[in-house]
Subunit: 491 residues, 2 copies
Amino acid sequence: MGPARTAGHARPIGHTEGRGAVSAARRMVVVGGDAAGMSAAAQARRLLSADELEIIAFERGDDTSYSACGIPYWVAGDVEERDDLVARSPEEHRRRGLDVRTRTEVIALDPDRSRVRTRDAGGTEEWHGYDDLVIATGATPLRPPIPGIDAEGVYGVQDLADGEALRKAVSRLAPDGPGGEGGAGSPPRAVVIGAGYIGIEMAEAMVRRGFRVTLVDRAPEPMTTLDPDMGTLVREAMNAMGIETVMGRAVTEIETGEDGAVRAVRTADSRHPADLVVLGLGTSPRTALAEAAGLPLGESGGLLTDRAMQVRGHRHIWAGGDCVEVEHRLTGMTRHIPLGTHANKHGQIIGSNIAGEYATFPGVVGTAVSKVCELEIARSGLLEAEATEAGLQYVTVTVEATSRAGYYPGARPMHVKMLAERRTGRLLGAQIVGREVAAKRVDVVATALTAGMTVTDIVMLDLGYAPPFSPTYDPVQVAARKAAAAVRAAG
Amino acid sequence: MGPARTAGHARPIGHTEGRGAVSAARRMVVVGGDAAGMSAAAQARRLLSADELEIIAFERGDDTSYSACGIPYWVAGDVEERDDLVARSPEEHRRRGLDVRTRTEVIALDPDRSRVRTRDAGGTEEWHGYDDLVIATGATPLRPPIPGIDAEGVYGVQDLADGEALRKAVSRLAPDGPGGEGGAGSPPRAVVIGAGYIGIEMAEAMVRRGFRVTLVDRAPEPMTTLDPDMGTLVREAMNAMGIETVMGRAVTEIETGEDGAVRAVRTADSRHPADLVVLGLGTSPRTALAEAAGLPLGESGGLLTDRAMQVRGHRHIWAGGDCVEVEHRLTGMTRHIPLGTHANKHGQIIGSNIAGEYATFPGVVGTAVSKVCELEIARSGLLEAEATEAGLQYVTVTVEATSRAGYYPGARPMHVKMLAERRTGRLLGAQIVGREVAAKRVDVVATALTAGMTVTDIVMLDLGYAPPFSPTYDPVQVAARKAAAAVRAAG
């Protein structure tokens, strides 16, 4: 860990290196032009004029502020245009007074001299001094060293270029797509490797584009962000939708034909023909630059920050988004939880603080929602294994309840699993698997976890009730009521 | 207010009056067989056997545990059978060991001698002693002394008999109903008096049954449970659906024809032809018996209880549901808020306490959700007028946000108005008017109000985010973010 820099906004050495003019303004340099970085830049600009703060953002790709979370829906055809996924283009940012430089990669951080080194598309390298540095380098998709992983027909879904390539391949292969080849014969086949959020969202996308879909994961059940018993419900629902699941088996090879294109995905004891393979294996923090600069990293490789989103021990170096670890409010531990919602908050906080306001990030409670076709999946708080790891003793209950009054049309069953701390009855987490409207009910859980409520507190919450929206006790309350009884019984 | 009774379960005088046998068990007597009363009975029976506690419930009607909230959907045709609205019939309760006596009215309470007087369908009157008394007499629909209010064709929607009568009339008049008369000509006309929850839900029901609907209310905007500016949004949306709204005008007369049947509804300066009139004017607590017995009532006429749902100053007399006033957690004041969700909780608490467990009702935060056709309406916390009445100074903001990521199909706009306390930033309330999925988002508001969160706390909540479910900041957080800025600006 590097030494703490002194406070204050004195102009650091090297500030004007590589630039032709000396500006009177302080300078904020942002590394990475997606959610966290550009939120920080936009928030600082909202609070300070260009005369007060110069803002330069470096992005190695072409796009800024895009929704990677939207890629599955773009591939599925729910979203038509690439631009729909771009919340704000580089040009739009520039019009708001931000100096955005795309195709410009930051290749080194030099905290001691408060400068970063960049390389632009033409290969020109430069140093740029900063008063405040924002590291928002995001995450790298996991690509295990499986034979064939770089074959033609294997697609990632990390950025818009990935999404575009996959979308083109899908349109070529899918019977309903333009120029589709499979209309007369059997449907094209997709194998999705990884059964987490990205994997199941991509499975939905491929199903909806007319593919026969196989999902392969080494875990015993899909969605390891759920307890296995809840993962079982997800697998069963996916199977009922016609998605084949191959669980508990690691991919050993992506088989290719003589033309070099993908033919099948193999595990130790099975072979799954594929016209197309999608990698949905999760990500790890992209922090090689930070590591090289001696900045503090956590176990996952994510940057460690303080509550103000300043890199620990480094004043005026800030970090947010998918490249940091966040503190879990229930355990006090930090974890890598790459989500756009955290990234946006981090950026807002960083921008406010750089502009002289005061804002802090209170940590997360581990909320996530997803869907595969009509199945909605949500979690917040701790899984059983996470609670145990944190030294917490708990009871669990699982209930089946309905989304609306039982007699109201469209009432759908949902399963709610809840963890409550032994003795205290404090809520520790909940998982929901159901149909419309199931997933967003987890927001009550997230809010109650943040407030440190007990399950009895939850039973007594004054939640919205009317027959089209809920039974008299919301499903979350039905689970809480049973959990409260379990806490009493457990002693 | 009567003197406090002593604690303990000593058998009171008169316990066996009117009964043939002396039982060894304590006796719980319930007055009123709907949500609060039967929840109390069922909960007590869950915890104590018939040998430990005898439970008698008196209900003057035919039904127990029915959903009055479901009547609009029964009339609309969403629910087919009357029985669908009955959660548990008298016979089902009896099979669970409850002595349910329908068509038996309680005509007097005698707290001094711990007994109640009943009159059955045959006119026979009896005294029944109790160890614990549960008053769950519900509420009475308001029926202002308007000329013609008792005419043929004027319907209330308080109980299942009302619902059945209205449903029959609708089927007779509506073009699509069996034996409908209006198929060839113009649609039948319904006037709904009262533009609160019941009124708008009935307006939807009548629209969906093919009626031309006029909604009349003396208030300037519908839904006085919202601030007027949010009520305006509701009125505009209803008008766009073809529902005529006549606001700011009191009904002066229900005009009848020579046959005695309804012809029109009149205000001081307008006349609205009607084949059918629905009264949706709200309710007042049904507490004449309690008042005659000297039990304490609040301003609305609702019974006042302690946290354990015991009538204030009266041990072993409990009250819950639509006949009590509930404490508002944000103001400390008691109000009459008749809702099935409160009634169920009250019953559960009362049953637990009578059985020797310990449970309390923490009060409400004023949550309510409703819909009219596809418009969803929700509130929690305080309106502007309520905050002012409570001595609270506040800022308000209103935002328009979308239900899903903007690029995701089905993203619908919603308006969120939020009140935050001046200086502290404490959340005081929110109102939501939008389309699917808008209303249940208020549950986060309800939970945050219960926890005493500030609007900044809400901005930082770890709510569920994925494009099909939410923008990166949930609409409630978009409002909270603006509210936080308004609090800072207000100083």
